[in-house]
Structures are given as structure tokens and as C-alpha cells.
Subunit: 352 residues, 2 copies
């Protein structure tokens, strides 16, 4: 596990010098700013009667200018309700997120908190809508698997004290804690494994190029090929949707023509599943290494670069609760190592 | 698809004659009960100033006695927020729930609503806590895959207008819409298939007996055996946790001894996965039919009774939105048919 602190904010960054976490404005700050007593602020915040419209307006203005947010954890505990954290997933139907979600849930439970999930269905607007809806429903913290690449919409929430950790993919245009797998290193190792078994013409079939993990894994493929002094033919690389029809086309395409590839590196579990199906009906034996482990891959003899989805979820959740406990250091990035699991498909030699 | 209306509430039921859905008490009803004007009720509900403590108390009492609940959909739309529905899953890590969740999400999106999930992690207390937390966070409706067998805790919420649909398993001790697969019929067909291929000694390995689907599938197994005039040896039936270690023990046990079974019916996807692994290392060929389809089962030649998880989710969500649109008929139960998918493992004959 590599734990590298991100570089400091560059000069000219729109973010002010105030720390992102902790240091939340209090009711006292609001009272001082509005020039009223603490009781009056409390009345406004809790919607109690006995405040004139004019005073209420001044208090509301102070609340907005300070970015004050009622301390919901404390309030929630007083009312006997449970603290909660939100998890914004990218795709509910992708089995990769099952163990990740479950691990987040277990950490949340150990901290006496409820977990509420939602899915962006790979749509950046939907991600934003969902994350803000969870904030509006007063989650204490957020774990986000991003679909989009601009997360500035979360800055007001984070400044107001909603602890936020990104997992699986980094956030865009903001700084925050992030927990990833080492996609670059994993793909590089997987492709080097194919090269070590004699392959020279190796395809890379991956997810859409706007997705961070797809780009990092492609970078790992290119690095391994370059390490071995191999030149990549453009026709060997296919990025795009992981829908079965698209992947099927891509696999058939790299296997066609007079000089087909002899091995395929599949960029994620969705690609691997379809590639395995196509290769099962192909007359030549073709080597395959896939990024992500798959259920029953052991019985099918599929060699994979395994990520530890549960460790991703657990690490992200632990980081979140550290923030909620008041730890206030700089946001950092953690990259979890991947493991090469040889099971047969990655050890098939090229035709002699 | 069989759509059978449930029997009417028996006499002496604690539920009053008022319909469960629609017919929500309004602010007008609260005002009449409290003997105040509509504006005063609105002030109390929205936490606005200008109400005396005594009046506020009377309004709060009227709210509680009527079970009034602010019409959040309307309010939410006014504030530009999105309507939302909650989905209480039973296990986040079970891939069966992926397509189900995704289908619910798609229907919700078509209705302009957000979906928020949580998981009970198979714990009835956790289910209750989560369902009520979602209600407290003002979901407009709930879809519940129950872990527990007593759902009376949801009655006040349902009476107050939170539309509720159960899916995959029926609710306990309340009446509500429910969408299931035909577990009894599916298991009966699967075991009959094994009998048709010559098997007489057939094991049933299933989930815990407190789970409705486990009981129904066992009932289907017994019915198929009885249909064929076969007597079941007690040692052939093993219900319990679906943890790999327990299932492994159960499979080994029915394959041991002087008269081992020649075929296994696996009660769900978790059981099938472990059974396939054990059978792969067994020296005799043993037939296997599993309830639930599994990813890559086609390549492994596993015969299954397939449920349509997406159809379960879609049907439940459509039923929920029908309720939210004001349809107010009696709660009903829908049982979706299952499909036998022969792929090889279920067609292995007994040793001659």
C-alpha cells in the first residue's frame, strides 16, 4: 500500500487558506456575526417561534455567509436517531461494487452508523444530484465512486463539514482523500506476464477513455510493451462501452485479419466476461489476462489481475470515520496493490 | 405471471377500516382537529415563528393523533428537490440484487425520482432501523426485501402515506403489495427434471429455514419427490447458512456413505457456486440443478432455474409508483414464473 500525500495547492487556486475539514463555524460564530444572542440563533435553526422576521433574516444571512451547518450528528444522537454515511456507487449491477459496498457497510456498522447508497448509473449529472440529495438528507459523510470529472459542486458541502472520500477513481478539480487500486502497475504486470509467455502481438480492450481507471490501465499496457521494446499497432487498442455487443465486436476485430493478436488484456471484469465467451467459440487458443477477479474464474481457469474490492471499501470508510473523528490532516491518496492470479488462460503460449 | 388478490382482513384484525393508501390526512384536517386556522398549522409544520407554545402544542397533538405527514413530494418539488424512493436490500454482496436494484433505479428515474438503497445485511433489526431511517429522511415510497418476519413497525408509516412494496419475500404480520418469484413451482420443476433424467436419490441444500424462499423451494422439492412416489431420506436435506464452509460440508455429507445421492438441487446461487466447486473435485459425476442463474454458468454448463431479477425489481417499482400516483386498490401478490435452463449439469444421468 503506497500512501502518497498530494502536492500542495498551486498558487492562484480558488480555495482559500482555511482547512477543509474540521473548524466548522459554530452557533456562537453565527450569533456574533448576526449581533444576536445564542438562544435566538438556536430558535431560527430549530424553527422555533419567537423571532421577528427581521432578526430571522439577519441570522439566515450570517448562516449563509459563514457556511454554518447545524451539527447533525450531535442533534441526531440527541433525538435518538442514528448517524449515517452515504455511498454513491457508479453502477448497481456491477458485481465489483458488491464486496466494496458490503465492506463500507461493515465499517459503518462498527461505528454505529447507517449506510445509505445510491447509484449514478455512470451519469455525472445523476452523481451530482444524488450526492447533494444525500447531503440534503443530512448524511454525516460521503464516499463517492465518481462518474463525472468535475466535483467542485461538493466544495460547499465539504467546507460545511461533510467528510468526503473518493474511491476507485480520483475526484476531478477538487482535492480530497482518495483510495484507488494501482491500475497502472496492475495492468503493466499483467501485460508483462503475457510477454513473458512469448506473446508479441497483444490487444488491450478497455472501458471508455473518460474513465480514469481505463486510462491508467492503458498506460500500464503501453509501459509493459515499451519495456519489452514492442511496437503497438493502433488496431490492437479498443476503448469504449463495456456493453457485450461492443466488446464482442472489439474482440472479433483484433482476432481477424492476416496477423491477429495472440493474446488479449481485458481492461475490467465486464470486458473479461464477454472476451471469455467469444474466445470459447474461437478455433485458435488465445491467451487472456483480465483486470478484476470474477466469480467462478477459478473453475474457468481465467488469469486475472485481482483488485481487493473489500479492502478499497474498508480503507475508504476508515479514512472517512477518521475525518468524522476530527482528524484534520491534508487530503491524501492511497493506492492499493493488485495481485496477479495465474489460472491458465494467461499462460497459453502463442501458436508456434 | 399469476396475480392473486390476498384474502380480506380477518375480523378482529387490529387494522381499522380506513384504506391503507391514499386518503392521507391534510393540513385542513389538522386545523379542524386543533381548532386553529390553516395558516397556523402551516407555521407549525414549517417551523415558522408567530405561534404561541400552547397553540403549537395543540397543533402537534392533532398532527400526532391524525398521523399527519407533511406532503413531502409537493414540498420537495416546490423547493426544487427531487422525489425519492428507498430500497432496503438484504445483502449488498449478493449479485442477485444487482440487476434487481438497477431495474428499480431505472423505473425510478423514468418517474423523475432518486433511488436510495441500504442493506439490512440479513439482520431484522438492521432492516427496521434502515427502513425507518429512510422514512425519517422522507422517501416517498419504500421497496423492501425483508430480512425479518414481523413488519408491523412499518404500519404507522404506511398509514401516514409511505407507499410500500415487498419484493423477493413476503412481509410478516402485515398486508402489503408483494412481488415474488414462484419459488415452489421453480424448485418442483427443477427436481422433476432430475427425476426425469433417472435420479431417485436427490439432495436438497438450501438457505436458512427462517427464510421464506428457502421454505418454498424445499416444499417444491418435496412435492416433486412425492409426485414421483419417491421417499426422501432425512439425510438428503440440509438447510442452513450459505457460507461456503457450511455448504461444502453439506455437499460432502450427501455424497458420503454407502448410498450417496446421485443428484443435488441447490436452493440458491450462493449454494450453487460452492456446490460446483466441490463437484469439480469429486471423482463421481453428480447431477446438479441450481435455483437462480449465475454469471458464466453458461460456460460452465450449469443447469439452473432462472429467476428474472430485473423483472422482480421492475414489477415492484411499477407497483410502487402506481400507489404513489394514487391507485388505492387492495394489496396484492404477484408471483413471477421461473425458467428451467438446461446446460449440461442437470442432464447428467445417474451411474448405471
Amino acid at each position: 500500500m503506497a500512501d502518497s500525500t498530494r502536492p500542495p495547492t498551486p498558487p492562484g487556486s480558488p480555495r482559500g487558506p482555511e482547512p477543509r475539514y474540521g473548524n466548522r463555524p459554530t452557533m456562537k460564530d453565527v450569533a456574533a456575526r448576526a449581533g444576536v444572542g445564542l438562544k435566538t440563533v438556536s430558535r431560527v435553526v430549530n424553527g422555533e417561534p419567537g423571532v421577528t422576521p427581521d432578526t430571522e433574516r439577519r441570522v439566515q444571512e450570517a448562516i449563509e455567509s459563514l457556511g454554518f451547518r447545524r451539527n447533525d450528528s450531535a442533534r441526531v444522537l440527541r433525538k435518538g436517531r442514528t448517524a449515517s454515511i452515504g455511498l454513491v456507487l457508479e453502477d448497481l449491477a456491477d458485481p465489483f461494487y458488491g464486496p466494496l459496498s458490503r465492506a463500507v457497510e461493515e465499517v459503518a456498522r462498527a461505528h454505529g452508523a447507517l449506510l445509505i447508497n445510491g447509484s449514478s448509473a455512470e451519469d455525472p449529472e445523476r452523481e451530482q444530484e444524488l450526492a447533494l440529495a444525500l447531503c440534503a438528507r443530512r448524511v454525516d459523510g460521503l464516499i463517492v465512486i465518481p462518474a463525472g470529472d468535475d466535483h467542485r459542486y461538493l466544495e460547499p458541502e465539504m467546507k460545511a463539514g461533510v467528510a468526503t472520500v473518493f474511491v476507485d477513481r480520483p475526484p476531478g478539480r477538487i482535492e480530497a482523500d482518495v483510495v484507488l487500486s494501482d491500475s497502472f502497475g496492475g495492468a503493466r504486470a499483467g501485460v508483462a506476464h503475457l510477454i513473458a509467455h512469448g506473446h508479441r502481438r497483444i490487444a488491450f480492450i478497455g472501458d471508455q477513455p473518460r474513465i480514469h481507471t481505463a486510462v491508467e490501465r492503458l498506460r500500464g499496457y503501453r509501459a509493459a510493451m515499451e519495456d519489452a521494446g514492442l511496437v503497438i499497432d493502433d488496431s490492437w487498442v479498443a476503448l469504449g462501452s463495456t456493453a457485450p455487443e461492443r466488446v464482442q465486436e472489439a474482440v472479433k476485430s483484433v482476432l481477424a485479419g492476416p496477423e491477429p493478436v495472440t493474446a488479449i488484456f481485458a481492461g475490467n471484469n465486464r470486458v473479461t466476461v464477454t472476451a471469455v465467451r467469444v474466445l470459447a467459440g474461437h478455433d485458435q487458443r488465445v491467451a487472456l489476462v483480465g483486470f478484476d477477479d470474477i466469480e467462478l474464474a477459478d473453475l474457468l481457469g481465467i488469469t486475472v489481475i485481482a483488485q481487493d474490492a473489500a479492502a478499497l471499501g474498508r480503507t475508504a470508510a476508515e479514512r472517512l470515520f477518521r475525518r468524522l473523528d476530527g482528524v484534520n490532516d491534508e487530503p491524501s491518496q492511497v493506492a492499493l496493490e493488485t495481485v496477479l492470479v495465474p489460472r491458465g488462460s494467461g499462460e497459453i503460449p502463442p501458436p508456434s
